[in-house]
Structure formats: C-alpha cells, structure tokens
C-alpha cells in the first residue's frame, strides 16, 4: 500500500492514568493499578468529560470511550482542522458491551417485571453505542461501526481503521476499544473458566503466573492519512505501519498449542509493513499472565526470531487485562515506547519459567536507542488474533 497511516491523537482511560502521557509515565514509574485482584479506573469521573445527563444515558464502557476519544480528538486538533465530516470514520470496539447495564436490567426484570426495564437499556448495552456516540460528538459522517473480537478487539479496530484509510474510504478514523466489565457476573464467569488469577496477581511470563487480572478502561487513537496530517501541520505520534489478523480455528478459549495463528498475525503485520523480523526493536506482548498464553507467545517469538528475539514486555502486568480495550491501550504504550525510546517493564516478573526464556524487561523502564519498529500483539478468545506493526513517525 502506498498510503501511510499516522497517529495524530491519543487517548487513554486506565487505572493508572487518564491520558496517553499520564498512562505511560505511570508505566515507567512501575505503578500498578491492581488492588484486591482487579484494576478499576477508580479515579474516573464521567462528569469531567460529559454532562450528568449524557453520563446517565451511557454505560460505563461508552463513558470511557467518550472520555478517551475526547482526549485523542483534542490532541489531534481534529475539530479545528476543517476536515470534511464525510471523511472521518469511527471504529471503536468492545469485548462485551454494556454489561453493567445488562445485569442491572436483568435483575430489575426478574425482581419487578417488564415495566422495570429501562427504555435506555438497548442504546446503553449495544456494543456499537460507543462508536455511535463518538461519531455524534464529533460530527463524523464517514464509515462507523464497532468491532468485537474479545481480547483482540482493540487491535482489530485500529487495524481495520488503517485499512479504511488505505482503501480511500476516510482520511481520518477515530479508532480504539473500551471495556467496563468488572461486574459481579462477568468476574464470576471468568473465574468459573479458571482464567482469573487466584492470587489476584498479574505476573506475565513468571513461573508462578496463574491467570489474568481484569481491568477496565479505554484506548482511542486518531489515525490519519499521512499526507493529510502533514499538510495540516499535525503533530505525529507514530505510524501504524502494518496490520494482520488471523484465526486459530482451534478452540473457543485456548490458544493453539503451537501458536500458528499468533505467528501468522505477527508475520503478516511485518509483511504488511514491508519489514523483516530483524527490524523489530520491541514487542508489546499480549502477555495475559495465563499459563497457556505466555508460554505459547514465547514459543511464537522463538519461531519468528530463532533465538534472537527483541525485548518483549506486558502492559497487563500493570493494568490487568482490559479485554476489548487492551489492544488499543497497548498500542498507545507501543507508540510511546517508540517515541520516547524507553521500554515499559513487565511488573511482578521474578521467577523464570523454563518455557518463558525471553527478555521481558523485568527491571525496566529501559532506555533504548534507535528503535524504529515495534509489534503489539492481541490474541482473543474465539481464536481471533490481531497484530499491529507500529513505527516511529
């Protein structure tokens, strides 16, 4: 593809910071948002980003999306740029949508009957609510929809937004993911699957890892055609140089034993970027802290780099697993790593596992010079994988 896609705005709502820079500063300070086995965005005040009535009519996941997209849109100077509304798209995904709204209304229905169900139930719960509200907020008339691929949602949203620009359907796409699934039923469900850490500790790649810790939040990027961004003098925070997606076609929750699907996505993203494995200076891992993922992700790294893998670290060690928002927030971390030339650490990594023998940046942050390209991995339940190749602007 001859069309370059750059990043001109970034937004993050996370348990350790609300803005791309505040979030990345916190990562470099080795701060953790995890307490009592979850990583909630406790400091988030929806009314700092919207009116009380708007907040009341949005599920928490959409509130996160609005707040993060406001940051990204402001950073990009999008509303002042005079871009034709028809040329702005919005692709914001979520793993599970308005779960809090769903649970509250189900309970009301069971306890009090039909009349207790809110007329706002559907517009608050539906997964595309966030993308729709963001489009309304900025007056974006270009293509828009939500993406749902569980824990790979954020990666797919950004990748598909890149494709939308490459295909000429938009000059700018506001893209990312949002999740607010720290509800009693959802936590019980992940616990029942055996996916959650019993110790409540996110320690990716450590020998004692026993599952993930759930977090919440949102990540949103403003993606823009490079010549368009340069012509209007926008600040460039990096480039989405490559993207690929794949299916494991193996199991609904377990990653494929040999990592074939993950490897296909990573190799595909490199090919899409016109790059070779040796060009990659850093990998932001999917790194969930589950026994399966971290072993297989390591195996895939060996398969691609054959003993010469670049450093790889997991953002989930600090903020837990943001499900549908994970890939988007981690794309922001990857952009910041390249821009600042400092790699974020993997927290809580103490006991090496013979099956996980890469450089996980445990002592980080680590200053690095001259890295031009990084990968951001996202592997979802359903066996759906996305990989972004992120480059310096």
């Amino acid at each position: 593809m001859s069309v370059d896609v750059v990043v001109t705005g970034r937004g993050v709502i996370s348990s350790i910071g609300e803005s791309a820079d505040a979030f990345y500063d916190a990562l470099l300070e080795r701060r953790s948002g995890i307490a009592d086995g979850v990583a909630p965005c406790s400091a988030f005040d929806p009314e700092s980003a919207m009116t009380a009535k708007e907040a009341r009519r949005l599920d928490r996941f959409a509130q996160f999306a609005i707040a993060a997209s406001d940051q990204a849109v402001a950073e990009a100077g999008l509303l002042e740029s005079g871009i034709e509304p028809e040329r702005i798209g919005v692709v914001i995904g979520t793993g599970v949508g308005g779960l809090e709204t769903l649970e509250r209304n189900c309970l009301a229905f069971l306890q009090e009957g039909e009349r207790a169900v809110s007329p706002l139930f559907v517009p608050m719960m539906m997964p595309n609510a966030a993308a729709g509200m963001v489009a309304m907020r900025i007056g974006a008339h270009g293509p828009g929809f939500s993406v749902a691929s569980a824990c790979a949602t954020g990666g797919h949203a950004i990748g598909e937004a890149k494709r939308m620009i490459e295909r000429g359907e938009a000059d700018v796409v506001v893209a990312g993911g949002a999740e607010a699934a720290l509800t009693p039923v959802c936590l019980a469900a992940f616990k029942a699957m055996g996916a959650l850490s019993k110790q409540g500790i996110s320690r990716p790649f450590d020998a004692r890892r026993d599952g993930f810790v759930m977090g919440e939040g949102a990540g949103v990027l403003v993606l823009e055609r490079s010549d368009h961004a340069r012509a209007r003098g926008a600040t460039l925070y990096g480039r989405i140089a490559g993207y690929a997606a794949s299916n494991d076609a193996f199991h609904i929750t377990q990653p494929e034993t040999n990592g074939r699907g993950a490897m296909q996505a990573m190799r595909g993203a490199l090919a899409d970027a016109g790059a070779r494995p040796v060009d990659v200076g850093y990998v932001n891992a999917h790194g969930t802290s589950t026994p399966f993922n971290d072993r297989i992700e390591t195996l895939v790294m060996h398969g691609i780099w054959n003993g010469d893998a670049p450093p790889i670290s997991s953002t989930k060690s600090a903020i837990g697993h943001l499900l549908g928002a994970a890939g988007a927030v981690e794309a922001v971390a990857t952009l910041c790593a390249l821009q600042r030339e400092v790699l974020p650490p993997t927290l809580n990594y103490e006991q090496p596992d013979p099956d996980c023998d890469l450089d996980y940046v445990p002592e980080g942050p680590r200053e690095v010079g001259g890295i031009e390209l990084a990968l951001s991995n996202s592997f979802g339940f359903g066996g759906q994988n996305a990989c972004l190749a992120v480059a310096r602007a």
């Binding site: 009116t51 009380a52 009535k53 907040a55 009341r56 009519r57 009349r115 809110s118 007329p119 706002l120 517009p123």
Partner: protein, 84 residues
C-alpha cells in the same frame, strides 16, 4: 391536586433523569428547550405514572410538547380517574 403540585412533580421527574434546567423549567418550557428526547419522555412518563398512580397511554402523548402540556395531561387523567 393543583397545577403547581403537578408542575413540581414534572420538574422532579426531569431532575431525576438529570435534565439540565429541570428545576427552573416553566409551563412554557418545551422538550426541545430542555433537550428532552423520546427516550427521556418515556422515563418522565413512568416516573409520573408511579407518583400519581395513573396510566398515561402512548396515544395521549401525541402533541405533548411542553412541560405545561404534560401538567395538563396529568391533571386530565387524574380527574378522569377521580370521576370514573
């Protein structure tokens, strides 16, 4: 129950759903002035139904475009109920 009491309840219903300017809404305030849409109206109607113990069928809402329209509708339905 007088008009003023019903007006207070309509204001209260608007405030419960966080409509800006609910407390100062007048009989002349329109839904458009208050940025009240069809979903908001469903909620307002439910709150009023519960408070006054009445039923407001959808057909009765045709042409109800102001706070005053809503107050008069509640008044009419309440009186119908009282005389039935």
């Amino acid at each position: 129950m007088n008009e003023q009491e019903i007006l207070e309840q309509v204001r209260s219903a608007l405030a419960q759903i966080k409509v800006a300017g609910a407390e100062t809404a007048t009989m002349e305030s329109s839904w458009a002035d208050l940025d009240v849409d069809s979903l908001d109206l469903v909620e307002v109607v439910r709150i009023l139904e519960d408070h006054f113990g009445i039923e407001i069928v959808d057909e009765k809402l045709d042409g109800v475009a102001t706070v005053g329209d809503a107050v008069r509708l509640v008044e009419d339905i309440s009186q119908e109920g009282a005389t039935a």
